[in-house]
């Protein structure tokens, strides 16, 4: 098992290196999905039923929270050290990112039997804060997956408290943070999204092409991450339309622009995922 994961990671790191990326995760080969990752840094949640991951034919195990959650850095820290050791062995200078699930997504994707909502969000933020701080600067960027930002039934008081929850989560964290929102964006959430205290705001532009006009309005003075490839369709994305989007983002005042895949690549076959990632190298 261990060997197989290392082999996959090695292939993955070589691929991202050949594309020339600045930051990359380890490909998450140790886990089934991004929700599964949380079990490696949280104590107190159990694996529950298979639940559908948004509108995909893809299922994750729902965390069941039966007691207060606590940080558990040991396993997580070991993985990161293993990743860095592998990168060093391969002589690859990619900035390793650490992937965590955003507090709102953790709240929405799990079954909570002990907390009230705001308490869970706050405890989760503190757990992540402690875990990320214990990792220190072994990683170069914190990648926060927050697809639930577009969920329909999020209460207003939660949305309004989210910036302070993020403050708690990122307090004393000395690496940049990248917030990833993916799949279809609910544009009424943009004002909340762009208030969150993160370094880079990630937008799945490939799946929200018809909403770009509204999305661009928030770019002025912000650092943005543009997910320019569609990770849910095998059709190859057009380089010229990617370039157009980049140019537009710049015109609209984005202070810095990173590009990449908007979210997990589990939804397309591996050969297609590789081909799509390779497109990114043609963008510069």
């Amino acid at each position: 098992m261990q060997k197989a994961i290392e082999r996959e990671e090695e292939k993955f790191f070589k691929l991202v290196n050949s594309i020339g990326v600045k930051y990359s995760s380890d490909g998450l080969f140790r886990w089934d999905d991004v929700v599964d990752v949380t079990f490696s840094y949280i104590e107190g949640a159990e694996k529950g039923d298979l639940m559908r991951f948004f509108d995909n034919n893809f299922y994750y195990r729902r965390p069941i929270i039966k007691k207060k959650i606590k940080p558990n850095s040991n396993e997580f820290l070991k993985y990161i050290k293993d990743d860095q050791r592998l990168l060093d062995k391969l002589g690859i200078k990619v900035g390793l990112s650490v992937v965590i699930l955003g507090p709102l997504s953790y709240h929405n994707l799990s079954e909570n039997k002990v907390y009230d909502s705001l308490e869970l969000l706050s405890d989760y933020a503190n757990v992540v804060n402690s875990v990320v701080k214990s990792i220190g600067n072994q990683v170069k960027i914190l990648e926060i997956h927050e697809p639930s930002i577009s969920d329909k039934l999020v209460k207003k008081d939660i949305l309004e408290r989210l910036p302070s929850i993020y403050d708690e989560m990122l307090k004393g964290v000395n690496i940049p943070s990248l917030l990833l929102t993916y799949f279809e964006l609910n544009t009424s959430r943009l004002e909340y999204l762009f208030k969150l205290p993160v370094t880079y705001y990630g937008i799945d532009v490939a799946e929200n092409k018809n909403k770009l006009g509204i999305i661009y309005r928030y770019f002025n003075g912000k650092k943005v991450f543009l997910g320019v490839i569609n990770t849910r369709n095998t059709r190859m994305d057009s380089i010229s339309s990617m370039r157009l989007i980049l140019r537009k983002a710049k015109d609209k005042g984005a202070e810095e622009i990173l590009v990449g895949n908007p979210g997990p690549m589990d939804f397309i076959p591996e050969v297609v995922a590789k081909r799509k990632l390779s497109l990114l190298s043609k963008l510069r």
Binding site: R52, Y59, N233, R235, I268, V271
Partner: protein, 328 residues
């Protein structure tokens, strides 16, 4: 008319493949078994599954879909316009070969007629059910590289599914179930998705059943009466029947196939538990409108457990039937 007892029992479709069939498929893939021999294995497996259904006393059996690896893949492989790039993950270590539509989808040859004819020739009852994956689910579980949008693709698939259903009726199919587990995936498609399913059912002279399972039934509940089918069956056990109230609220009036077996759990429900669940459901819908079935296909369970679950499903149904007889 079909000659069936009250609370007819049925299966959703798939059943665990006998272990030796999995071995035959493996041998055939590495060229160590001829195609004729593989077909013989499939036929023998269908015979074994129908025998299990017979022993369990299921009123409306299937052949267990033993020939089909996966419900989208199977059809995509037999149609023009699809391409396979490789496996994608469904969960954990479970993968399927999600097809991509790369040109106009086209009907090439009958897909289910041989399967149906063989099952019919060995069935212990003329009340045999044949299942077919619906157009929305095939479209939703494929990548669309060719069509302007998924709607266009779905309606093209609806014509194809309709053509195959006509072939099945011609071959003598009396009960056809259209599987649409993806139909309630997103609210924004649901209205035209219902139209697409109806398009695929146009002019089909058979008892028509729709299978819907897992997810948020609130999306589809307001539209249930609009499907041109005689019956809709649902996974309900896993949700502890909480959706019955909703169906009732929307005035659902067709036959309801009641999922009483959790297919994701190896615990075998007892006959008494099943009887209790059926009686609970009768508070919402009259016995005359109810059929009894598992939540979904039994394929992923060990065969022994699948069989025991079916046996108890029928035993539990019989308990309620006896009670109904006594009180009538």
């Amino acid at each position: 008319m079909l000659d069936l007892p009250i609370l007819p029992t049925t299966v959703i479709g798939s059943y665990p493949r006998p272990k030796w069939l999995r071995e035959s498929i493996r041998l055939s893939k590495i060229g160590k078994m001829s195609n004729d021999e593989l077909i013989e294995s499939f036929n023998d497996a269908a015979l074994a599954v129908l025998h299990d259904h017979y022993l369990a006393n299921v009123d409306v059996p299937t052949d267990g879909e033993v020939r089909r690896d996966e419900m989208t893949e199977f059809f995509a492989e037999k149609l023009g316009g699809f391409k396979f790039y490789g496996p994608v993950r469904v969960w954990g270590t479970a993968y399927y070969r999600k097809p991509a539509v790369v040109s106009k989808v086209e009907y090439k040859e009958p897909m289910l007629v041989d399967e149906f004819n063989y099952a019919k020739s060995i069935s212990y009852t003329s009340n045999l059910k044949i299942t077919i994956t619906g157009p929305y689910t095939i479209a939703y579980w494929s990548y669309n590289e060719y069509y302007k949008d998924m709607k266009d693709l779905t309606f093209d698939l609806a014509k194809i599914i309709n053509r195959e259903m006509r072939n099945l009726v011609e071959a003598g199919a009396k009960i056809i179930q259209i599987d649409e587990p993806a139909i309630h995936s997103t609210k924004k498609d649901i209205e035209w998705a219902v139209d697409a399913v109806n398009e695929s059912l146009k002019g089909i002279n058979a008892k028509l059943v729709l299978h819907i399972c897992y997810g948020d039934y609130r999306i589809v509940a307001p539209y249930l009466n609009e499907f041109n089918v005689d019956q809709i069956n649902f996974a309900l056990k896993i949700y502890d029947y909480k959706y019955l109230d909703l169906f009732k609220k929307y005035g659902y009036e067709k036959e309801l196939g009641l999922g009483v077996i959790d297919v994701h759990n190896r615990r075998v429900e007892t006959a008494e538990e099943i009887a209790k669940d059926i009686k609970y459901s009768m508070k919402y819908f009259p016995a005359e409108k109810l059929w009894i079935n598992p939540d979904c296909g039994l394929k992923l369970l060990p065969r022994k457990i699948a069989f025991e679950k079916l046996q108890n499903m029928v035993k539990g149904t019989n308990l309620v039937r006896e009670e109904l007889k006594r009180t009538s």
